[in-house]
């Protein structure tokens, strides 16, 4: 196992944007120079007893923490888990299910960011605020939903059958799997507590939209009792969800659900067919954009504050155009042309509109659908797009530190520690008489600074032809720009270069960057963080990805053909306790089935019972245990006044009530089952 994995990876995104000022201890009254506390010589303070591999432990070269050896023959796949939808997935899913444009999740608490990615399964938790927001969204969605879009019967007979269809058919879509009969009953019974079809249907949606079955992607699988070991095979529906969210960031479409229903989605060959279909669709574009944007930290392009006096040209419209340009660029290089990391890094053309061309200082007002060469400005690839350069810069200036850090942490996957405490850290002030290289000179001359900044600044200097908002500049305030740079102390990508184009050549040829790209895809696709236990998976996946040539198709192929896509590890010895008997013990025996009078040969069971004190609902299951048809009747003592009943006729609404079947279930054939239910207020 290589040293870059295991617990040595500091997960905190260390967005410290510091730079050393001219001298240490220039701050009055500062306790000069007491840098590291606790961590011997590694820079940042660490509390005694803190685990190895916190920020301080991760040097640029990837400090290795001693880890217990892992037997990779034993550990094959990740653990069984529940994976909460991200905000983006929630909105896409609701949009697809309800035929609306959902933006509800934009108001949910922000998803936690781990290694730049907001879909880490461990981190996605339902907090109290999240539960509240989820309910508010469910209220809005359920109250306005067009029911006829969900089940066709809602435009026709608004009856119990249609409510059942909502519970089962729409239930299968929203839960991404068929419901067990008892689950469907539970939702149907809930709906029946409402006074009419419409409010019942909306009540059902209100619950479905808050259900764990909707909110979490289940990756539980099942254990084959005949098998040894800890492997749980994922079922076809679980794999359908994996595919849907990996490739389209949304709920499974009809084709996936149909394949799952037919048991056609658990073999790698079956999955390959779906991957090919889905990747060929424009619906795969957003997920690739999302990956690139989170990997390279570009999402802030529309919001990161900038000095409006210094950059008055950076209007909200230009920010939006920069975002659109980056999206188009990713779409083109990842889908239309090379589809590889190399294309992402080196493609010298972009797709911009006239306003953005003007902002960039390019002569031609362009058609956004046609490639425009950026070679005259020395631009190549995603790293030289305005969105990247603007996001990784200071509010009023370029920043060799930010840009070097981007390359070091996101492209080389080498996390840097924060600066040691006690250093006077001042980014060099703007000074029209000096170039950035001169202004940042302290970083290479002052010891505590240079030990880290040598890993960033010499890379970042090569971007100096681009200002704080990503525009090309031939010189820096009239001073010539020296864009020479160097990568130091990388695993295998070391050396000098002249200008950003040569840097990009180096990165393009770098096995380190290739490995980092693969690792980033793994984190994103599987929603996991490397750990000692997952290192085997990571290592195997990474070499497969590296061997694949790195095209988008190859990446998705490796990700979806790997064992991780089909199984999870778990404890096969746990046996769930038997279900808590429903209903709860009934305080009113007169309404229990025990005291019911009924037709001979009939078996009666309560399958659902809700009781909130002021009222209650009950659902009964009937079975004809005789050898002949029965036209059934059941007499129960109803506590309170009945306000609702279903799949039955009732002789009265309170006291001793005789229930008989509705047209469709009045007569039960031998062995047949039926059900009915009612709600009452006390």
């Amino acid at each position: 196992m290589s040293a870059r994995f295991g617990s040595a990876v500091a997960a905190v995104s260390l967005l410290w944007l510091a730079a050393c000022g001219g001298e240490i201890g220039a701050v009055q009254g500062a306790p000069g120079g007491s840098p590291a506390r606790g961590a011997a010589g590694s820079g940042a303070p660490v509390a005694p007893g803190a685990p190895a591999g916190t920020a301080a432990g991760a040097t640029a070269a990837g400090a290795s923490a001693p880890a217990a050896p892992v037997d990779c023959a034993e550990v094959q796949v990740g653990p069984r888990r529940l994976w909460r939808l991200t905000s983006a997935q929630y909105d896409n899913t609701v949009s697809d299910l309800f035929g609306i444009q959902s933006t509800f999740a934009q108001g949910f608490p922000a998803d936690e960011v781990v290694h730049g990615f907001s879909n880490n399964a461990d981190a996605l938790i339902v907090t109290p605020l999240y539960a509240d927001k989820l309910q508010a969204a469910a209220q809005d969605i359920s109250s306005k939903a067009d029911l006829t879009k969900l089940v066709a019967c809602a435009s026709g007979a608004k009856d119990d059958n249609c409510l059942r269809e909502l519970a089962t058919k729409f239930g299968e879509r929203i839960f991404r799997r068929p419901l067990q009969p008892a689950e469907a009953d539970r939702y149907f019974s809930l709906a029946k507590t409402a006074p009419d079809f419409e409010s019942g249907a909306r009540l059902m949606l209100l619950a479905q939209l808050q259900s764990p079955n909707f909110l979490y992607r289940f990756e539980l699988g099942s254990h084959d009792a005949k098998e040894q070991g800890t492997r749980f095979a994922l079922n076809d529906y679980e794999i359908a969800s994996e595919l849907a969210y990996l490739l389209w960031q949304t709920t499974p479409d009809d084709a996936l659900l149909t394949a799952a229903r037919g048991g056609m989605l658990h073999e790698p060959a079956q999955v390959r067919v779906q991957v090919d279909r889905m990747l060929a669709s424009p619906r795969a574009k957003p997920v690739v954009r999302a990956f690139v944007f989170e990997w390279l930290g570009l999402s802030a392009v529309t919001t990161v504050p900038k000095d409006t006096a210094r950059f008055p040209e950076l209007t909200p419209e230009i920010r939006a155009a920069l975002l659109a340009e980056a999206e188009r660029f990713v779409d083109h290089v990842m889908f239309a042309s090379g589809s590889s990391l190399s294309a992402l890094l080196t493609t010298p053309a972009t797709y911009l509109d006239g306003a953005l061309a003007t902002f960039y200082g390019l002569a031609a007002a362009a058609d956004p659908s046609r490639p425009v060469s950026l070679a005259e400005q020395g631009r190549r690839g995603i790293l030289t797009l305005g969105a990247t350069l603007l996001t990784h810069a200071r509010s009023n200036d370029s920043s060799p530190v930010h840009r070097g850090k981007l390359v070091r942490e996101r492209l080389l996957c080498q996390l840097l520690p924060p600066p040691p405490a006690g250093l006077n850290i001042q980014p060099p002030p703007l000074d029209p008489t000096k170039t950035a290289r001169e202004r940042y000179a302290a970083h290479s001359s002052v010891e505590p600074c240079q030990s880290c900044h040598r890993l960033m600044d010499p890379i970042g200097f090569s971007f100096e032809h681009f200002d704080g908002v990503g525009r090309f500049r031939p010189d820096d305030n009239g001073q010539p720009i020296d864009a020479h740079g160097e990568i130091l102390d990388s695993r295998s990508t070391n050396g000098k270069f002249d200008g950003v184009s040569e840097l990009i050549d180096m990165l393009d040829a770098s096995p380190d960057v290739e490995a980092c790209y693969s690792l980033s895809w793994l984190r994103f696709a599987y929603g996991m963080t490397e750990s000692t236990e997952s290192s085997c998976l990571v290592d195997r996946m990474q070499s497969a990805l590296n061997d694949s040539g790195g095209s988008l198709g190859a990446i998705f192929s490796v990700l979806t053909q790997a064992d991780q896509f089909y199984a999870r590890t778990g404890d096969p010895t746990y046996v769930p306790a038997p279900p808590v008997a429903e209903p709860e013990p009934d305080p009113s025996p007169a309404t229990g089935s025990g005291d019911a009078q009924m037709t001979a040969g009939l078996d009666l069971q309560i399958t659902q019972s809700n009781d909130w004190g002021g009222g209650y609902c009950k659902t009964y299951q009937l079975k004809n245990t005789s050898a002949a048809p029965i036209t059934w009747s059941v007499t129960l003592l109803v506590d309170g006044k009945m306000n609702n009943h279903w799949e039955c006729e009732a002789s009265a609404d309170t006291g001793s009530v005789t229930f008989t079947g509705a047209a469709h279930n009045a007569t039960l054939m031998a062995g047949a089952q039926g059900q009915f239910g009612f709600c009452a207020m006390r």
């Binding site: 617990s7 500091a10 997960a11 905190v12 944007l17 730079a19 001219g22 701050v27 009055q28 009254g29 500062a30 306790p31 303070p45 660490v46 509390a47 007893g49 685990p51 591999g53 916190t54 920020a55 653990p79 069984r80 608490p109 922000a110 998803d111 936690e112 781990v114 880490n120 981190a123 938790i125 339902v126 907090t127 109290p128 605020l129 539960a131 509240d132 508010a136 009540l203 619950a207 808050q210 259900s211 764990p212 802030a300 504050p305 900038k306 000095d307 409006t308 200071r394 509010s395 006077n424 850290i425 001042q426 002030p429 963080t529 750990s531 746990y574 909130w612 002021g614 009222g615 207020m681």
Partner: protein, 423 residues
């Protein structure tokens, strides 16, 4: 395979739940003093300070805010403040901004002091605590952007959207007329039943996640069907209208609305523990309305030799101090329904930061300001130089002020409190 505690550590907000040193306070008991404040409000602004522009002159009860200094906008309230100098962060788990942000309210343990107080008070308020934010989430949730931790969910997220805050706190109105539980209540019951089934089915697998979820829904269920509180009844706050709430220019507007909502929440006793988090550590916010042309974090790193830069930082900090003063004024303008004084009289408000000197990323003399009558609990009107004491003692003192008998807070080997704040 299982994810070990060690791997989770520093990976997710939930990690702090499982932190091995998550030492809670020995046998906390609530013994309310007659003068215990009714509520406590945490107020955060980022990126440390420049002490020579923060410190008052003088000491004890004889002190002044120099002209042009950061705290000068609070001069009118001087008699109602405790300015705390000389409290250090000890035993931080990490360094720099992240280490400070994580340590500020936790003292190195979990949960954070606000959540601990809320859970121990167990007040019969609609919410155990209310967290509001001003542009805290553009970078997602992480160690840099969150200051509160509870022992079930890890990060406690502030709500950055005043429109949503109003709906959550005062929207009410969905309590069903007539008999029976509301649809929300019935749906909530069903979903909780599903979660319990799932827990039974899975055993220890994902138990933490499901427990966290269930706890959240149970909290919610207790509010459903409760009497709806209208904004009009809570100090007259109206439903806010705001667009573009994530843009830099809207920062003051969002802040003003959130302050009004917080006052309204206090007026209606929606929670006894409240907080307002202004942006986050390493904040890129440009306080252009205070004359800034650079991001707040960048300004916080101006060297003493850069007088213009430091002056701009001080102006930004004075703007925050002005907001703090205006918040105190708003609290002071609303009477408690029981006639016990104004909301300010019955509250403790504490302004906290995550670093000492922002340029140095150090944890020496992290600046704290206590305000509010605190029902007379605090001996106000003083500037205290506490001489290198661990800030865990302050956190313990805050617990004690709310009637919780604790002997320390945070890491186990730092105990004691700060009796000098009250006598």
């Amino acid at each position: 395979m299982k994810v070990t505690r060690r791997n989770l550590l520093r990976t997710t907000g939930a990690a702090l739940i499982a932190a091995p040193f998550a030492r809670l306070i020995a046998a906390p008991r609530r013994v309310r003093a007659a003068n215990s404040p009714k509520r406590i409000i945490f107020w955060f602004t980022p990126n440390g300070t420049v002490h020579k522009f923060w410190r008052p002159t003088g000491s004890g009860a004889q002190f002044d805010f120099p002209a042009g200094s950061i705290l000068e906008p609070l001069a009118a309230r001087k008699a109602g403040l405790l300015i705390l100098d000389g409290l250090n962060f000890e035993r931080t788990r990490g360094g720099s901004h992240e280490g400070g942000m994580e340590h500020m309210l936790t003292g190195g343990g979990a949960p954070s002091v606000d959540q601990f107080i809320a859970s121990q008070l167990n007040a019969m308020t609609p919410f155990p605590s209310i967290e509001l934010g001003v542009q805290t989430s553009a970078w997602g949730a992480g160690v840099q952007t969150r200051m509160s931790y509870d022992d079930k969910h890890g990060f406690v997220h502030p709500d950055d959207d005043p429109v949503a805050v109003y709906r959550r706190l005062f929207g009410g109105g969905d309590a069903a007329a007539g008999d029976g539980p509301s649809p929300e209540s019935r749906a909530n019951d069903l979903v909780r039943a599903e979660l319990k089934d799932l827990e039974r089915q899975l055993g220890s697998l994902e138990k933490q996640k499901l427990d966290a979820h269930l706890t959240s829904l149970t909290q919610l269920s207790k509010r459903i069907g409760g009497a709806a509180t209208s904004g009009a009844a809570c100090g007259g706050v109206a439903a806010p209208k705001l667009t573009d709430s994530k843009s830099n220019e809207r920062f003051p507007d969002v802040g003003a609305l959130q302050m009004d909502l917080l006052v309204a929440a206090a007026a209606c006793d929606s929670a006894r523990v409240l907080s307002l988090q202004w942006t986050h550590t390493v904040s890129p916010t440009i306080l252009s309305w205070a004359g800034a042309t650079e991001g707040h974090h960048e300004l916080s790193h101006k060297d003493d030799s850069n007088t213009a830069g430091v002056a701009s930082f001080v102006q930004s900090e004075r703007w925050f101090a002005t907001q703090f003063a205006s918040f105190l004024d708003k609290l002071d303008a609303v009477q408690e329904p029981d006639g016990s004084g104004t909301l300010l009289d019955t509250s403790t408000v504490i302004w906290t930061k995550e670093l000492g000197d922002g340029r140095l990323h150090d944890f020496k003399s992290v600046p704290f300001v206590i305000a509010g009558g605190g029902n007379g609990y605090w001996k106000l009107g003083r500037y205290l130089q506490l001489g290198d004491q661990p800030h865990q003692k302050l956190l313990a003192t805050l617990c004690q002020s709310m009637g919780l008998q604790v002997d320390g807070f945070g890491v186990p080997d730092i105990t004691g409190s700060l009796p000098e704040l009250t006598t």
